[in-house]
């Protein structure tokens, strides 16, 4: 278990702490290498690449855009999981498989 935490601290974007999940989505969906994927996500979120890796900036951006956080105060505005992925798919202009399957099963498409 120490491996994941060490890699995340030493070299990782930190997933939903910043925008690591979204950068990885671009690698998976469009086969983008790391610099291209970061630039793409940064442009879609309206931040610089430096800000994209900054936990303080990205906490605000993610909260304001409803893109999911690693820590949220329980409240009606809390947005994580499937709800956040609906918004991520729209913001990044990609299809997210779980969102598409959810829409099918919920009769939304």
């Amino acid at each position: 278990m120490g491996q994941e935490a060490t890699h995340a601290i030493c070299a990782g974007m930190g997933g939903v702490r910043t925008a690591g999940d979204m950068v990885l989505r671009m690698q998976l969906a469009k086969k983008m290498k790391i610099d291209e994927a970061k630039a793409y996500v940064a442009s879609k979120l309206g931040v610089t690449v430096e800000e994209l890796c900054d936990v303080v900036t990205m906490s605000d951006v993610r909260r304001d855009m409803g893109l999911g956080l690693c820590h949220v105060e329980p409240c009606k505005e809390e947005n994580n999981g499937m709800a956040a992925k609906f918004r991520i798919a729209e913001v990044l202009d990609i299809k997210i498989n779980s969102v598409e399957r959810f829409k099918e099963r919920a009769g939304l498409k």
Binding site: M1, G2, Q3, E4, A5, T6, H7, A8, I9, C10, A11, G12, M13, G14, G15, V16, R17, T18, G20, D21, V23, L24, R25, Q27, L28, A29, K31, M32, K33, I34, A37, V49, E50, C53, L67, G68, C70, H71, N80, G81, M82, A84, K85, I88, K95, I96, N97, S98, V99, E100, R101, F102
Partner: protein, 352 residues
């Protein structure tokens, strides 16, 4: 005369070692030369060599990459490192949330605890059910993971002949045929599991530890990847390797005309691209009897050769015993963090 300064480092088995600057540099030269000779690749530049020396001897217990150079990670944990390997009773879907919200991971995979597709097939619908629940509550990408692990298809408990016993008996033709038969079983199983994972909304498939049983094992992964991405163009596949070198257990197998036996990462990645993979998981073996300096210089030489030619993201496999990480269960973060920094800043990798 004052004793020459020694730096604390480790051997490939994780044991502590104290080395002088000359000893570290000599090991680095030797490790790099080994990669150049085996892979028929270029050595590191002198500038990169000096930077790697700095990283290896950098003060501090833990080091990190420069701000802005952070990378992302995928995972081959199967979503059972907490509930099975650490014996903390927790459903898989809850485990994925810990990866996301406590450990800062960019993704995780869910798979069978017996992490191979032959076993996973039998309970694929049930594991897919857990994956579906996890996908409803997590924000980060979740993949389904497992190994082709061709050895599982051999007799006595598998359908194909056992080439590990046929070969020593001199039954060469039978051994080759058994491997070719196992490839077909493996592709079928991987594709069946992929169908279940796709149907519940997985973000991709992780074909992990490919080539573990040799060239036939790697061929099964490439063909399965091709089949999955042909059937589901929006369903990405990650191919992660078992070792730096594809063992020629068969020896004659080819993919798109390229013989698989003997390929190193810079050739492996080109085949992964042709198969339609979105991410290639690179492996360079850790030599337990050599120092971290020897291993890391060798690793970076191989990694640079791979990332220079890759057109898809390359994730360095940084688990136990690969890419400079010592061969121990409980990881020492001093060398682990140095491996991370070197892989990102010098190896130019796209993720872990």
């Amino acid at each position: 005369m004052a004793e020459e300064k020694k730096y604390q480092s480790r051997m490939g088995d994780g044991s502590l070692v104290f080395m002088t600057e000359d000893e570290i540099r000599a090991d680095m030269r030797e490790g790099m030369a080994d990669a150049v000779k085996r892979g028929k690749i270029d050595p590191m530049s002198e500038e990169d060599f000096e930077r790697l020396y700095e990283i290896i001897t950098m003060p501090g217990g833990v080091v990190g990459v420069e701000p802005g150079k952070e990378i992302v990670n995928t995972n081959d944990s199967g979503g059972y490192k907490i509930n099975v390997k650490s014996q903390m009773p927790l459903p898989k879907e809850m485990e994925t949330l810990i990866y996301e919200r406590c450990l800062g991971c960019d993704s995780v995979d869910i798979g069978n605890t017996d992490y191979n597709y032959k076993t996973a097939k039998g309970v694929a619908k049930r594991d897919a059910g857990a994956l579906k629940q996890a996908l409803n509550v997590t924000t980060m990408p979740l993949l389904f993971g497992g190994m082709p692990d061709l050895g599982f298809y051999t007799q006595p408990d598998g359908p194909a002949g056992n080439w590990a016993t046929l070969l020593p008996d001199g039954k060469i033709k039978e051994a080759l045929a058994a491997q070719e038969e196992a490839v077909e079983y493996s592709i079928k199983d991987i594709c069946y599991v992929a169908d279940q994972a796709y149907d519940v909304g997985a973000d991709g498939m992780n074909l992990d530890t490919c080539g573990a049983a040799g060239d036939a094992d790697f061929l099964a992964a490439l063909k399965a990847c091709e089949a999955i991405t042909s059937k589901y163009p929006d369903f990405p596949v990650e191919i992660g390797m078992a070792g730096e070198f594809v063992l020629g257990m068969h020896g004659r197998l080819k993919y798109n005309g390229k013989r698989l036996a003997g390929l190193y990462p810079h050739d492996q990645v080109k085949l992964a691209e042709q198969a339609g993979a979105s991410i290639f998981g690179l492996v360079v073996n850790t030599n337990c009897n050599k120092s971290f300096a020897w291993n890391m210089a060798r690793v970076i030489t191989f990694v640079q050769a791979c990332t220079k030619v890759a057109n898809i993201p390359v994730h360095a496999d940084v688990g136990m015993g690969v890419c400079g990480i010592p061969m121990v269960e409980i990881m020492p973060v001093d060398v682990m963090s140095r491996a991370d920094k070197a892989l990102v800043e010098l190896g130019k990798i796209d993720g872990f």
